[in-house]
């Protein structure tokens, strides 16, 4: 193919098929993808590791497995090791007999074969299945300015915003193809221009806004644009562990309720600290968020349960996966909540999800036994993959994840409401 991009000698050679037909097709895919966004060149990926979105061995993804086999057989594997989104199944998570048959006989029948392919392609390790690969317990933490070929919207927005790395919102397969050729097209969030903010968002709430609600409001308003947020630093203080956890959940909501790939928080995120309001485009629009606006957003979420008054049968927390700090904080909150309501165990089956690395660290702490005592299940599962089962869809499931609400039939509640639901039987 002829490309409008300025390609290096090596890139042209790959495209011309000098390193094999398969690699040429991979390069053609990346070049054509970039050309659609006006990319003028392909730039080297500089991060140590990649991160892929597709972690599930769905029976129906036959074309993907064929493509991956073609890559493996021709030696066109990833130049980087990679982490990947969470596994779809965990026997510790409550599920019914028929539900399990659907999971194991109809949905994720290719899980073992797919994981074998991932190992051949460059999987980091057996524990590298999480959407929060950027946590230190997992170890896939890019540095500021590094160029990535990641997918998984919540990970991309975190890497761009909180870590200052540079990554577009890549699709599954494109993520892998970038690290197979070692280059990604230079456009969008890789460029200085693409990282400028088209929206100024002013936070004027009377208390610290719920991360998942605030992210939802901003995502639905700005869609794929970059917001520059002022007034949130008052509530976050500095970029410490609490703030990083807050921004993890906030960012996932902006990315799933809209299509945000990067946000700047004045006084908090690295580029906002360095450049301040200079990141705002001259004609940036303004969106003011106060208590009433957050309430309006909350009140407008559709409830798609058949019986809107149904008693919840399951609660999921951890989409994206919870941080170590979240697990310890929630263990304390649930323990205190149960004591207050004179309950010994949670009154709704509840699953907390976290990365295998975080779970290992958590299990070294005194909180692990305390959490176990509450009856809460701690799992590495992807709640979305669980909810994709049609029998899960018909279950009344509650969550404080706005991403899970967006993609499934799960009903959203604030953190405080979730705590009441799971600890206090009278609230059911």
């Amino acid at each position: 193919m002829n490309s409008s991009m300025s390609l290096s000698k090596e890139q042209n050679a790959i495209l011309a098929g000098e390193k094999g037909e398969t690699l040429a097709k991979v390069m053609e895919t990346m070049v054509r993808y970039g050309e659609l966004f006006g990319a003028t060149s392909m730039v080297e990926i500089t991060s140590e590791y990649n991160h892929l979105v597709t972690s599930f061995g769905l029976k129906a993804l036959g074309a993907v497995y064929d493509l991956l086999n073609q890559l493996i057989e021709t030696g066109a594997v990833s130049k980087q090791k990679f982490s990947v989104d969470p596994r779809p199944l965990d026997k510790n998570v409550p599920s019914g007999f028929i539900q399990n048959i659907v999971f194991q006989k109809f949905m994720y029948t290719k899980q073992d074969e797919y994981e074998a392919q991932l190992k051949k392609l460059g999987l980091l390790n057996e524990d590298a299945f999480t959407c929060t690969c950027y946590m230190k317990e997992v170890g896939n933490v890019p540095k500021q300015g590094e160029v990535l070929s990641w997918s998984e919207s919540s990970a991309v927005v975190y890497a761009n915003s909180v870590l200052g790395a540079r990554c577009n919102r890549n699709s599954g397969i494109i993520d892998l193809m970038g690290s197979v050729v070692g280059y990604v097209p230079y456009f969008g969030l890789l460029t200085d221009e693409g990282r400028r903010a088209k929206w100024k968002v002013e936070i004027r709430t009377s208390k610290k806004p719920e991360a998942q609600l605030l992210g939802s409001a901003i995502g639905m308003k700005v869609m794929e644009d970059v917001p520059y947020i002022v007034g949130l630093d008052k509530w976050l203080g500095t970029l410490d562990e609490d703030a990083r956890t807050y921004l993890k959940d906030f960012g996932a909501a902006t990315a799933s309720n809209g299509a945000v790939g990067l946000y700047h928080v004045e006084g908090i995120t690295p580029e906002a600290v360095e450049y301040g309001k200079a990141l705002l485009e001259k004609d940036a629009r303004t969106y003011v968020i106060d208590d009433a606006e957050l309430q309006r957003i909350y009140d407008n979420y559709p409830i798609i349960w058949k019986d809107k008054a149904a008693k919840p049968k399951l609660c999921f927390m951890g989409c994206p996966h919870m941080s170590l700090k979240q697990l310890t904080d929630w263990t304390e909150k649930v323990t205190a909540g149960l004591k207050k309501s004179h309950q010994s165990k949670v009154v709704i089956p509840t699953v907390f999800t976290a990365s295998p690395g975080v779970i290992k660290e958590f299990e070294k702490t005194e909180y692990a036994e305390k959490l176990k005592q509450t009856g809460i299940v701690l799992s590495y599962i992807c709640p979305l993959m669980y909810m994709n089962n049609p029998l899960s869809t018909s279950m009344p499931v509650i969550t404080s994840s706005n991403k899970l609400r967006t993609y499934t039939s799960a009903r959203y509640y604030t953190d405080a409401e979730i705590l009441e639901h799971i600890t206090d039987g009278r609230k059911r």
Partner: protein, 148 residues
């Protein structure tokens, strides 16, 4: 009466099909999940949040939309949908294409032999305001769209 629009060619091709219109962003994963997971031949839209498309057949239709939204599995889902022959006849975007739909369009074009899904973008707001479900749409290789 015929009305013509011209957009940018993302994946070239000629096709004629009935229009199916989404005025909001198409959540690819939520919409095509049933088609991919359970082999629904009509690719009935499963996204309850999309009031324009929910419950309607998407396979073989001229899918008219502003953009796609949602999970970064989007491109992969389009690719798999096309690999089992459940894809729309074409995808016609009023806005410049987003990165997830673009990935799907390019993957189908480069990697799936004997499968065609013409994709045209940047057709403008007027296109999406004008087109209605079941209108006859003809897509030409140069990115022109005829609506009857």
């Amino acid at each position: 009466m015929m009305k013509t629009f011209k957009g940018r060619v993302v994946a070239a091709g000629n096709v004629t099909a009935k229009a199916l219109v989404s005025h909001g962003g198409l959540n690819t994963l939520a919409s095509f999940q049933k088609a991919v997971q359970f082999g629904d031949k009509k690719a009935t839209c499963g996204d309850q949040g999309n009031t324009d498309l929910y419950g309607k057949q998407m396979a073989g239709k001229a899918l008219c939309l502003p953009r796609t939204i949602g999970s970064t599995t989007g491109g992969l889902v389009l690719y798999c949908t096309a690999s089992i022959g459940r894809q729309p006849a074409c995808m016609l975007f009023s806005e410049p294409i987003d990165s997830l739909a673009a990935a799907g369009a390019v993957l189908i074009d480069v990697w799936l032999k004997d499968t065609s899904m013409p994709v045209v973008d940047s057709l403008g707001d007027e296109f999406l305001n004008y087109v209605k479900d079941d209108m006859d749409i003809t897509v030409k290789e140069d990115g022109s769209i005829e609506i009857r």
